[in-house]
């Protein structure tokens, strides 16, 4: 009876000595073995690899800094109160992008409201419920293909389907619906990946306490994968904010101020910041305005992503705040 206690303690010194033997083999370079030295060839390898990592880090950082710096340098001087607070006026000969800022926010909101339930729901179904592995792989293949299609094709399809067939007209709504289809693969994929990282032991633990499957998914699985869902949202927001081709044909190029109630109705066209940027730079050669818009886009994207992260923080532990 007591023999297993004895074997345990007898095995103890062995288990301590084993990792030391491993470092002597040179398996773990960061912990010095007994003599405190590692071979010079290993030291060179480690040095080269660490050097490469540092270089790539610096390159990425420099690229980002240059890009942001250049946009600020070219754009900052042209961001004026008139620009951000009015719509363009031919009479006064001024350019304003308030309608475009609002349209961007509306379209982000509308798209997310529609794509999140669809995408998260699909991902939950595919990962947690679907029993037919063949069907799942077909759907996954289809969504991956969807993700690879150039956005101009979404624009054409959106125009034919939403603008014309469903008679929504060139409108923010048609644009948002087009973007829903475009961002769906992103949301499904990131949600699925993050659902797969939730250990099965959580699921078993929930079910073993008598939880129904949906209750268990809602209270354990989804809160554990909220980070992945937010990552998906941020990627989707990036695509929405950065999209021009798919919106040119579907949401149109109008620059009028709308409230949210108007924006969600069919027939109300409007251009987002990116579409406006494209128009000012390409059609009218107003590069100062284009860079000012670019700067505002950067700030806006940053703010939206921050908001998404805040929401995630609030959502992460839904049961924790109950008491």
């Amino acid at each position: 009876m007591k023999s297993d206690m004895i074997t345990y303690s007898a095995a103890d010194p062995q288990s301590i000595s084993r990792p030391v033997a491993k470092t002597a083999d040179g398996k773990n370079g960061s912990v010095p073995p007994e003599n405190g030295k590692i071979s010079s060839s290993r030291r060179v390898k480690i040095g080269v690899l660490q050097g490469l990592m540092r270089v790539s880090f610096v390159i990425i950082l420099a690229l980002l800094a240059c890009m942001i710096g250049y946009i600020i340098y070219r754009g900052a001087a042209h961001v004026t109160w008139t620009l951000v607070s009015t719509s363009p006026s031919l009479l006064n000969d001024t350019i304003g992008i308030l309608p475009n800022i609002l349209n961007t926010l509306y379209i982000v909101l509308m798209t997310l409201v529609l794509v999140l339930p669809l995408g998260v729901g699909t991902a939950v179904y595919l990962t947690e419920y679907a029993a037919n592995a063949k069907l799942v792989s077909v759907i996954e293949f289809a969504t991956e293909t969807l993700a690879g299609i150039p956005s101009i094709i979404y624009g054409l399809a959106g125009m034919l389907i939403f603008v014309q067939f469903f008679s929504l007209g060139t409108s923010l709504l048609a644009g948002a619906l087009t973007l829903v289809i475009m961002t769906l693969p992103t949301i499904i994929r990131t949600t699925q990946e993050s659902l797969k990282t939730v250990p099965d032991s959580y699921r078993e633990g929930g079910l073993a306490l008598g939880a129904g499957k949906w209750y268990m998914i809602r209270t354990v699985v989804l809160p554990s994968s909220i980070d992945g869902i937010v990552t998906g949202c941020i990627l989707a927001i990036g695509r929405i904010v950065g999209e021009s081709a798919a919106l040119l044909f579907t949401a149109g190029m109008a620059n009028e101020i709308m409230n949210l109630g108007e924006a969600i109705q069919p027939g109300h066209a409007g251009s987002t910041l990116t579409v406006a940027l494209y128009m000012y730079a390409k059609e009218r050669g107003e590069f100062d305005v284009a860079f000012a818009i670019a700067l505002i886009l950067l700030v806006l994207t940053f703010l939206i992503n921050m908001a998404a992260k805040l929401v995630a923080k609030k959502l992460r532990r839904p049961t924790q705040n109950e008491d």
């Binding site: 023999s3 029993a131 306490l209």
Partner: protein
């Protein structure tokens, strides 16, 4: 002593492989029943039929009957209600990534308890039953994942006890723990059997001998021998049982 769980001619297949063959076993109230046998002998599979966790395995097919207080759990009982009455502690501690409090309150919340006072009471009682209250009463709101392995396993026991089950299934629940934590959980089992019925799967013969009242020996999907632990260990009737518990194979 009353029988609480009874399996009759229980057969189970995973696809074409028959994992359990004609198992007839009664589990008595307020006793610790140990299921022993070499890996792959069907003891864990058998235990999972008792709270229908095998339902989650797609290729699994079951014939025969398992009753809980006389009611057929596969025909006349909802799986969620069964699992409330027959709780389970797994091999590896699996606390949810929530606070200690929320882990214990998870079960009662499923079953509709919302009152804070009631939940507080259940959490305290369950943690006390799992001999964990004194160690964590000051940090109930901190994440359960910050606890040690042994504490996490006792938390899982507390979580299972919080729904007031009648039977507690323990699937090698001490195999990943150090001897001190193991001893704590064994003491706990001896305490808990006064109120609950415990079925445990174990690879540790000493453990089965130390704490169980009844031992059932499985081999290749068959129940070779079941009886009082003393008799099984001192005077097994079957040659294979003797060979296994004396360590000649396994």
């Amino acid at each position: 002593m009353a029988t609480i769980i009874q399996s009759e001619n229980l057969n189970l297949w995973y696809g074409d492989h028959q994992a359990l063959k004609d198992i007839n076993l009664s589990i008595e109230e307020h006793q610790i029943t140990a299921l022993i046998g070499p890996s792959g002998c069907g003891k864990s599979t058998f235990m999972k039929t008792l709270n229908r966790m095998n339902d989650l395995v797609k290729s699994c097919r079951i014939e025969g009957k398992v009753t809980l207080n006389g009611v057929d759990i596969y025909k006349d009982m909802d799986a969620n209600i069964l699992r409330k009455r027959v709780g389970m502690v797994f091999q590896k501690a699996n606390p949810f990534p929530m606070s200690i409090y929320d882990n214990v309150a998870y079960g009662p919340r499923i079953h509709g308890i919302r009152s804070h006072a009631k939940l507080d009471e259940i959490v305290e009682r369950s943690l006390q039953q799992a001999a964990l209250w004194d160690e964590c009463k000051d940090r109930l709101k901190t994440s359960a994942l910050g606890m040690s392995g042994g504490q996490q396993q006792r938390l899982c026991i507390a979580r299972a006890l919080a729904v007031e089950p009648e039977v507690l299934l323990m699937d090698e629940s001490t195999s990943a723990l150090d001897p001190i934590s193991t001893a704590k959980i064994e003491d706990l089992c001896l305490e808990l059997k006064k109120k609950y019925t415990i079925v445990m799967v174990t690879h540790n013969m000493q453990q089965a001998n130390r704490i169980s009242d009844v031992t059932a020996f499985f081999l290749l999907g068959e129940l070779i021998e079941a009886g009082e632990t003393k008799q099984i260990f001192l005077n097994p009737t079957n040659k294979k049982t003797e060979e296994y518990i004396t360590g000649r194979f396994g």
